[in-house]
């Protein structure tokens, strides 16, 4: 098992190396990327300013708390982009017959698909996210105790997994439909909106959907509520940060089942 993980890690590093090498073949592309990096940051900062103007307090959440929530949510967003953005292209890979090559290699197909090309744009998302999160931490004077640090770590892993699972499950629909672009846009907008605001502002029915149907509220709303001592409509026993990780792992495996089922349906177009 450890040998298998090391092998995957080894191949993953080589994929990263080849990705960078490929991207350096096109210096102008790299250049435009460096230009777009501060742009991303500016947009992030602008969103922050918009947030300050918009909310003094919202449903009992003050601005510092919302910034904390928004920042943490954005960090998991950036990480999910880095690790799972490839799933947005499942439709494309299906119509181009791209899975054939992965199926021919003695490695996990999803691993190859997800990691054969790293997306560096996710890193630029992480920069403004971290700044907003840090701002929120200072505003509410968040205590970085050992237990809190550990909980934040659980939330980052769990939240990234929940987002990744949604990408994988939605992207896998393309195995049947060959296209999944618009669905991804909808699911992304949902997530973005959900993560920006405390879910408690929504009607109970929406809260119910985000909690029990599509557990997006667990990405950051529930664990942050626990960390900041806020009330939630639905309550759960135990630590909500552990719930985030647990649900993350659960939905991730569920989404992998959808992916595997889709892969069996794959009909390898072209000759």
């Amino acid at each position: 098992m450890i040998k298998k993980i090391l092998h995957h890690l080894d191949v993953g590093c080589l994929y990263l190396k080849l990705t960078l090498q490929s991207q350096m073949e096109y210096p102008m592309f790299l250049f435009s990327w460096i230009i777009s990096n501060p742009m991303q940051f500016l947009v992030g900062a602008w969103t922050l300013k918009a947030l300050i103007d918009q909310f003094q307090t919202i449903n009992g959440w003050n601005f510092g708390q919302v910034a904390f929530l928004y920042g943490l949510g954005s960090i998991t967003h950036g990480l999910s982009i880095i690790f799972f953005i490839q799933t947005w292209g499942i439709g494309w890979a299906v119509t181009e017959g791209g899975f054939g090559r992965y199926l021919l290699r003695p490695l996990n197909v999803f691993f190859q698909f997800a990691f054969s090309y790293f997306n560096m744009i996710g890193i630029t998302d992480l920069i403004p996210a971290t700044i907003v999160f840090a701002y929120g931490c200072i505003q509410i004077s968040f205590q970085w105790t050992l237990i809190n640090t550990f909980k934040i770590l659980l939330v980052i892993i769990g939240g990234t997994l929940i987002r990744g699972a949604v990408y994988i499950a939605v992207g896998s629909i393309a195995f049947w439909t060959k296209r999944s672009g618009s669905l991804i846009t909808i699911s992304l907008t949902l997530m973005e909106k959900n993560v920006m605001y405390p879910v408690s502002i929504y009607p109970t029915i929406i809260q119910f959907i985000f909690t029990f149907c599509v557990p997006l509220a667990f990405i950051c709303f529930y664990p942050v509520s626990e960390l900041l001592g806020m009330n939630t409509y639905f309550t759960f026993p135990g630590s909500l940060c552990v719930w985030t990780l647990g649900i993350g792992i659960l939905v991730y495996f569920m989404s992998m089942m959808v992916f595997k089922k889709g892969l069996k349906h794959y009909d390898s177009s072209g000759s």
Binding site: D10, V11, L14, Q21, G100, L104, Y266
Partner: protein, 325 residues
Amino acid sequence: MITVEGLSKTFMVPKRTAGFKAAVKSLFYREYTEIQALDDVSFKIDEGEIVGYIGPNGAGKSTTIKVMSGILVPDKGICRIMNHTPWKERVLHVKNIGVVFGQRSQLWWDVPVVDSFELLKDIYNIPYDEYKKNVDMLVETLDLSNFINSPVRQLSLGQRMRCEIAASLLHSPKILFLDEPTIGLDAVSKIAVRQFIKSINKEKKVTVILTTHDMNDIEALAERILLIGKGKILYDGSLNKLRSRFGTNKTITVEFMENSTLPEIQGTKILSWLPQRASLYIDTQEISVSEVISALAEQLELSDVTVENPPIEEIIVQLYKEYEI
């Protein structure tokens, strides 16, 4: 080594008609046609064979290769390759096989060929010594040394194909599937690829299954051919047998000293008639070659005689016609 029994696979393809109106209609209601890509396909292949897999476009060649290499899951049927079922024990199975799709690249487009090889070394966990030995052998026999450090996008098709073949053999597979390996190649590259396939079959005992539309590939390489049409295996046997079954005609070309009239010979047809040179078509079921030659020799003072088999392409066309595929 390879056993395929009763393999069937159907694809559901949406019926489409051209035009905007039809496209709008298809949004709401879509009809599907069932295409039987494979229909009860069975065959056995032994270790060390080179099998030519032929058939017209859309006959099911690529589908069979994809099932055998574990990319596609068939609807029903058995496929055992070195004691593995490809789609069930994919990871174990793919270590034993090498696959080249002539129309699709397995190399990284923007990085030097040798880096793609290094990646494959890692993916297949090839021990360093074995990797080194294989790369040296492949670089030498496929003559890759001039461009192994160039990015793939800068290679010619022939160079790329040679690299593709090398890439599929790095992990010393026992079986090599080649799907149209000579498509679009010039004569020199074609011959180089054929010679290489022959040599690894002979020296490394690699079993080769190749699909092609170039009958010269088949003639140069395959002892045995499998003909598939509309998803069914129509012929399985040696090339020579196929020849004797369908190639019941020969062409004879004679050169002679002086102008004279050609005798009428039963069972032959004059193809061309020039002063000092003539070509005849012979139906060997009606008259033997030696009878024709002796009849000609009686009338003419022959200086040269050439007897030719019909080109294999002609036999294949005849075969396709007979099976209406």
